[in-house]
Symmetry: C2
Subunit: 431 residues, 2 copies
């Protein structure tokens, strides 16, 4: 290994799907500009794939299905882990680090579940382990949180972190279409997976907020500490009521700092006022809103997924690794503590709620319902009523902020009141 | 010098105004959290000021009016340059670097005018020279451009980079107040300087876009290469017309990549559609919109000025210097070439225009004006007319994109046409 600035940094790529092929293309397309900016040429020498039978544009000898051979290859200095999931990614990344290779990954699940351990390992060996692409696609979030914002106590984060679900909600809103229809269309177009669980049930968003909170609060946020509720229950009707009340429904990840080392983290559909900057983040765009004690309010938005934006983040990380190698630096992995963050249960949340009920249309019903609200310490901010047929009406409530636990007990009380036919939906509100 | 992680990094501060005292306060208030995150304690040992007579909360022996003694102090490893302006900041920063000290600065004018040279000097000596706070206050812009976005060819940047002027324009819009009245009020409240030239005539914005473009295009953009036009000419009447046409007037810095190493950079009031994300960036908030070839559209927004947000950026940079010192790294200054970027003159710009005229109210006037438009290859997108009195009318035009040079010649033609009493205002439009 020479230490001149012009020696080539050799790169191995694990996975050549959307992100892997995008990163390769970016390194080729912007080759000259990158060399000028970073002073180091990069060369991809090996690419690990599952299926060699698939036709590729590149020479066959670049590809291998033996992924371990890449993380063991002494000529490779940096491994881009772009296969996703935990198995075998965790083992391969660990092996690459033990072999003295820097790692760049786009894998949110890996970092959420094994980040604390792997980043510490990288640090202890003087290596980089970067993961900007794990959250927010091309939007710089991970590194700014680690560096430019590191002096702040973060008090709140709210993010739209999943492109597929934001696309679905935007389309429902704009076209007045039902969830199931929009999902089916998104699946047909390839915007959503055949099994959409990871996106629509909020696992992807949960991994991402775990990563961001672990950085911001400098301790690991285990995914089990994140309350999670997906968007399957969001109906077009609720969207229309929300709209009339001045709100949009977005799928948010929210973290509140409660006390020293204690947070409340949650992922769920949320009513936010149309005037909030997150309300106008539409389609596949992602955004993170953050409040820090010194920096105040910040917002970052951009394309949160897709081949090119994600490649932008992966390559940005790779260039930093290259600069570090060229400068003889000792690696800049910034670990967070493995000791987990304390988390509050969702019962302790204070939040406003949107609630839609079908009730019996007869005298005294409203009085009975109002009494239930009062008994559970939930007060009302707004209400709309509509007759459905001769015997039934629909009521929509917006509450003032109340304790989640009280609200849940209120729902039980309403069901047992004898006048509520159905609790159709309840959605938390950011006010 | 020991290399254990727990030795203290000694810091000297030049300037103890809004930003300097904010940075000091942040280091104190968040001391424990910073130590936990960075693993290095920071200690401010000397503060350079102009006036020792002013009452201060800190021990008198921390202060000195001999700024050179700080950059010469062998015990100090990092200098925070927070005095602003070029003289004596340039000399002090150079001297600090020559003495082997890392430098963090919030000084946009310094970086715009001397950045290429000073950053190269830092790099050659294995030192850091960071300047996140120079642009956008607490919003991470400088480092993300240098790192996470470094693989992109930046094709366009549009920024609201000055808090004072954004505050003035927002207040004019909201309250229907005149520029002069709002400026006087902002001056009385301390939001605007007694001599507001630096803000309202766009010098501050010009320095900032020079810094951002120099990073993005990796060559120095001299301030002389930036076309500049301030907001003194923006009238309430134009704001109201713009509003009726669906636009907001914002004070933007805009850079377009024209060809390899050639850009067009400009600072001027601009009509932007109300639906554009920059249109809702109000008050003292700043924002940068960016389009990169791989990352696509990005936007960053937050508090662009003030003690706390700017301190957030200064301290973030300082923490990186501390990590670098603790890790034994060789400094991570990323210079841009001193060789200047090529810039196109404003005459070559293709843009739409807003134009307001007072014309004679008699037959054939509109025909004569329309003929002038046609002769100068400027076509119309929208028009509004209003009678002012018996002999005069007011006309507002929105053009389609045209060559700036042609539009300027059109204005000469209109003045000579014999039917135009006054060319009241012309403002570029982002469509």
């Amino acid at each position: 290994m020479t230490s001149t600035l012009t020696r080539t940094v050799r790169v191995g790529i694990l996975g050549f799907g959307t992100v892997g092929s995008g990163a390769y293309r970016m390194l080729q397309d912007n080759r000259d500009a990158i060399l000028r900016r970073v002073g180091v040429p990069f060369e991809v020498t090996k690419i690990g794939i599952r299926d060699t039978a698939k036709p590729r544009q590149l020479p066959a000898e670049m590809f291998t299905t033996d992924l371990t051979s890449i993380v063991d290859d002494p000529a490779i200095e940096v491994v881009l882990e772009l296969i996703g999931g935990v198995d075998p990614a965790a083992e391969l990344v660990e092996r690459a680090l033990r072999n003295g290779k820097h790692v760049v990954t786009a894998n949110k699940e890996l970092i959420a579940k094994h980040g604390a351990r792997l980043i510490s390992l990288a640090k202890s060996k003087g290596l980089d382990l970067h993961y900007e692409a794990a959250v927010g696609g091309g939007i710089p979030l991970v590194q700014p949180l680690k560096h430019q914002l590191a002096g702040n106590d973060v008090l709140k984060m709210m993010g739209i972190l999943n492109g597929t679900t934001n696309y679905i909600l935007t389309k429902m809103q704009r076209e007045g279409a039902d969830f199931a229809d929009v999902l089916a269309e998104a699946q047909a177009k390839g915007y959503a997976e055949a099994d959409p669980t990871n996106d629509v049930d909020g696992f992807d968003t949960m991994y991402k907020i775990s990563v961001l909170a672990s950085i911001a609060f400098h301790k690991h946020l285990p995914v089990e500490g994140v309350y999670r509720e997906g968007i399957r229950g969001v109906s077009l009707l609720d969207m229309q009521y929300a709209d009339a009340l001045g709100y949009t429904i977005k799928f948010l990840a929210i973290v509140d700092a409660i006390a020293e080392d204690t947070i409340l983290a949650r992922v769920h559909p949320t009513l936010i006022p149309k005037t909030h900057p997150l309300a106008s983040v539409n389609d596949v765009y992602n955004a993170l809103y953050l409040h820090g004690d010194f920096v105040g309010d910040l917002m970052f938005s951009g394309r949160g997924a897709g081949s090119d934006p994600t490649a932008s983040a992966v390559v940005g990380d790779l260039l930093d690794v290259g600069r570090n190698i060229a400068g003889g630096g000792s690696g800049s992995a910034i670990p967070f503590d493995e000791e987990p963050l304390k988390t509050c249960p969702i019962d302790d949340l204070r939040t406003a709620f949107y609630l839609r009920l079908v009730v019996q249309d007869r005298p005294k019903v409203l009085g009975i319902i109002a009494t239930e609200f009062g008994e559970h310490d939930v007060s009302l901010a707004a209400m709309e009523m509509k007759t459905l047929d001769e015997s039934r009406g629909e009521i929509v409530f917006l509450t003032h902020p109340c304790l989640e636990k009280n609200f849940r007990e209120l729902l039980v009380g309403l069901k047992q009141s004898g006048v509520v036919e159905e609790v159709c939906s309840s959605i938390r509100v950011v006010s």
